[in-house]
Amino acid sequence: MKTYEQINDRIASGKAVVLTADEIMDYVDKKGLEAAAKEVDVVTTATFGPMCSSGCFINFGHSKPKIRMSEAWIEDVLVYTGIAAVDVYLGATQLRHGDPANMYYPGEFRYGGGHVIEDLVAGKSLQLFALSYGTDEYPRREIRTWFTINDVNQATMVNPRNCYQNYNVAINDGDRTICTYLGVLEPRRGNATYCSAGQLSPLLNDPYYDIIGVGTRVWLAGAQGHVYAEGTQHAGACERTPNGVPMEGAGTLALTADMKHMKPEFVRGVSLRGYGVSLALGVGVPIPILNEQVLKRTCVRDRDIQAPVIDYSSDYPNKTGRTLCHVNYEQLRSGEIEIDGKKIAVASLSSYHKALEIANLLADEIRRGDFLLSGPIQPLPKNTAMKSLVIRKKPV
């Protein structure tokens, strides 16, 4: 048994033993669970992939004379201004003004909110255009200026949903190519796509949310941030394998961090043909090895994690709830799965390569004593279920 304080003391003195979730299984196999639990202080987990429910608050400071922005665009991408005078919220999936979307199907969606966020973190100069109705204390009616992240008071990433615990494998049972948020799917099960770091993914290493909770310090695109709430659609009540790993989406995390400390290579705009724009983010979460049980959970392997295969031509859009079958991440990472006797080529939308890089970067930061762990101030709910939107008539 170890405590957060003991582990942080070892980190601060540069003595912490840190392994990635990719390395820990073989280490435990070699050393045994009991000895490894005494020796290892932290296991780092990570993921990198599109996380649509991402965005940021920006405070621009005041111009002279002042404006209370009522409509605003950054690089022609609409931002939300229904908050204080010069605060805005920029969402990852917001399209650029004038984007034809799917008017000429499939749309290309070359630039949008996710790309603005990438450019902002990369230090590029961006155009702000804002309008106002004018008030006595905020008389300016219009402003056009250029700014970088260094010019603004705050640029705070606030993501309502990141780090889906597990995710669907998408295939297309129909007879035409479809364009989805999981990529382009060829007809008649021509290919399959998935989106998870599997054995490296944070919540798959803590399946019952025993460790990760509100207040947990995380590595968000290179900045030190934290979990500020359960993520939207967090639903721990789901079918699980005998080792407790969810067999569907399940848990999610709401994350925040200061964008001024982020690394641009882990904040990347995404253009999904026929679907829209998004933002791909790199997230690392350290798991303190408080006891053997915690360590055991981090030893989950790709072959122990099952993902549901869903038909995105019909079952997904029509919300039938049908799952064709389950496949494990070892099968997915082999590049080919077999369903009903047919071999199907598989690709990932999430980058295991980047996730591995993040797990190693975080491990290095902890070893250097630059990243201390913080325990949760409130646990994530374990047994909440996902609700549906019911279409009903106006109550009389």
């Binding site: 796509t193 990472r333 080529a345 690709a347 980058s351 295991y352 390569h353």
Partner: protein, 139 residues
Amino acid sequence: MSQTSIKKLVLFFPRYDCEQPIIYHLVKDHNLIVNVYRAKVTPEEEGYLVLDVKGTEQDIDKAMEFLKTCNVVVNHSGKGVTWDEHRCTHCSQCITHCPTDALHIADPATRKIAFDEDACIECLACIRVCPFGACASAF
């Protein structure tokens, strides 16, 4: 006797030279076997052509001289499609769409993607499916 070789070329046609039967002359006058990957040669506009030429080195050299007389700009890099390693996040979305495995997983342990330019047939599937704009076409 000069050795037979294959060269991949990207030809750029200025606007005023788009209507010459250049491929005909490569085949007929210079004995080259031509394999066109893709072309965009429109009258009154600029044109591009990506192709392999196969023949003796002597014939290929003579053909290059001929192309110069036609004001065609020859890019010997043969790169009509490029892959930007720094824009690539190594997600692997492209690999099931690439028909020749030009884009492939180079290292199964780190899942790193690599691009084999020689294997690329310029079908442009990668440009359609890459979410990060890592693949680009010269035209």
